[in-house]
Amino acid sequence: MKLLRMVGTDFGKMLFVLLFFASLPFWINHVGFYQYIGVEILIWCTYAMAFNLALGYTGLPSFGHGAFLGVGAYAMAIYQLNFAGQSLWLGLSFALLFGAMAGGLVALFLSHRRGIYFALMTVAFGQVFWFIAIKWRSLTKGEDGLLNLQRLPAQFGLISFNLDENFSYYFFTLAVFAFTLIMLWILIHSPFGHIIQALKQNEMRTRFIGYDVRVFKWISFTISAGISGLAGGMFALAQQSAFPDVMNLQWSGIIVMMVIIGGGLVSFWGPIVGTIFYFVARDLLGAYTETWMLWFGLTFMLIILFQPEGLVGIWRKVGAGLNRKYFQAASIPSQDVSLPDSSLQQIK
């Protein structure tokens, strides 16, 4: 019953998000953008949602998540090039599987840690993966990358869709994104999701209740890495190549910033908002200045200081403020309670 009630509001939001993205290819050229950026945004949204499972929901700050995106991309590329793979589904499954395996391996070392130690170890592992990608030239072609990937057709039994054009590939990406979104939503609202959120708030207490927090952290991280790998596989097809650069420290740091600015720490939708914000800002500002990272970094700093709930948090406050102003009598106490200083409240 409780689940259905929640669906009432979240269902609307999910519908909005999916409709927004579904309509995008039709108006994106008119607002001064191009098809490919839509594809990239969706893929990074998938990656950001996966990342937020670890950061926002389980409280695991991973500064090396790019490794899993990269592993997924390479899995897809190697499947296609070295094994003459023809099946899109199999390629994506490998991307997900290898991403999860990489994440599982890393999580073995880290699942009993959190906080700063966790963060640094993820940096170390991220660097190790990047090193392997550069060094294992026979497999990955190093910095030259694995090139000339084909966008394999999406086959549903007898019907097959050609994905060569960005327009059609966009819809396939949307399908994968929608699937991931719904799956993650179900996961978050399942008992598992509640446990990991409890774990984020207070690990000791969760342990005292009787849950093996290490196992849950391991599972959460592995799932996060797997979906990141899936996003990586999609990315490899989008670019039609796989490069080691997404594994490096800079890019692993950017996903952290994207998710937090969007409001991933308090909201399921935060990563999506943050990803769109990043790409739009980069494309717009990047056309005018080469120092746009300066402004993005400053925005990030201000968000951390004043609005750790990110853009979604601001949106909520504005909404609550407006709500109060127009729809409620003055005598009713204010809705927007300021958040406690320590861990943030349960994510909606």
């Binding site: 700050p61 700063i116 963060a119 170890m121 700093m301 320590s342």
Partner: protein, 299 residues
């Protein structure tokens, strides 16, 4: 065996340089329990400020010796960076009392902003720092050529480490700093302005980062991105040595230097990744690093 000794010496020298780089970071982590990821950018900023100082002294070359201007740069550049550090600390105050992750993220953003600012002001061109002749050039030790400057830098590192240790452990100021970290309420109750204390410690830590930047500039070169080459090892060394342990991080610095130096000699393609593997191995078996104490940053 004969070939091993020069590499051991080199590894120790390298370790001392790493310990120097990590010094400011260690101080801030140990005393304020705060991860300052802007350490690297401040390190780079120190080198750039030194360039500015030397540039100012350029026309005065006739009167003053290069040694003098280098010494002045070594003093003024850290002071300049300390000012920036103080600004950063003021900005960061809102994150105190929250999850330490916020402090880390804030300084992470600051690192990016400072690096970009450097790029805007000085460009991406490579600069070099002029080193006085006394400590420049090469020296022959037992059939092998060593760089005089590196020897100077290693000794400087030892001196600075001892000085900082002395300051923290043996002076009244140091006692106050440690007390402030341990029990800030009590310290405040005793009438000491904890805010100003934190400001001072942070400024001191960033000044140490800048000194390391000036010292390392003639070895690594001066580019906007050079900060990243400093902050990653610093972070690694502090965690390896154990949060809260001063000598732990010095030891860790030496370990990292030896690892890098020895792998550089015998398995050079692994020289960088070996450091990360070292970290992973040590942390897996010793939860808090070599000599770590329990802290807010724990687990």
């Amino acid at each position: 065996m004969l070939y091993l000794i020069p590499h051991l010496i080199n590894g120790i020298g390298l370790g001392l340089l790493f310990a120097l780089i990590a010094l400011g970071f260690t101080l801030i982590v140990g005393v304020m329990e705060l991860i300052n990821l802007a350490h690297g950018s401040l390190f780079a900023l120190g080198a750039y400020f030194a360039l500015v100082v030397l540039g100012v002294f350029q026309p005065l070359q006739e009167i003053t010796s290069p040694l003098f201007s280098y010494g002045v740069a070594l003093v003024l550049a850290p002071l300049g960076v300390a000012v920036v550090g103080m600004g950063l600390e003021v900005g960061m105050r809102r994150t105190y009392g929250k999850d330490p992750l916020y402090g880390l993220l804030f300084t992470f953003g600051a690192a990016l902003v400072i690096e970009e600012a450097i790029r805007v002001i000085w460009g991406s061109v490579e600069y070099s720092l002029d080193v006085p002749d006394l400590i420049s050039g090469s020296i022959l030790l037992g059939n092998l050529i060593y760089s005089k400057y590196r020897i100077f830098a290693s000794f400087f590192s030892i001196i600075l480490i001892v000085l900082v240790w002395y300051l923290i452990e043996r002076t009244k100021m140091g006692a106050i700093i440690k007390a402030g970290a341990h029990d800030s309420e009590m310290v405040r109750a005793l009438g000491i302005n904890i805010t100003r204390l934190r400001l001072f410690v942070f400024a001191f830590g960033t000044a140490l980062a800048a000194i390391a930047g000036v010292i390392m500039a003639p070895i690594w070169g001066i580019r906007p991105h050079v900060g990243v080459d400093a902050v990653i090892p610093a972070f690694l060394i502090v965690v390896l040595g154990g949060v809260g342990s001063f000598w732990g991080s010095v030891m860790a610095g030496l370990m990292v230097g030896l690892t890098a130096g020895l792998t550089g000699a015998y398995a050079s393609d692994w020289s960088i990744v070996s450091i990360y593997i070292l970290l992973i191995v040590v942390i897996t078996f010793r939860r808090r690093g070599l000599f770590g104490k329990a802290s807010k940053l724990d687990i």
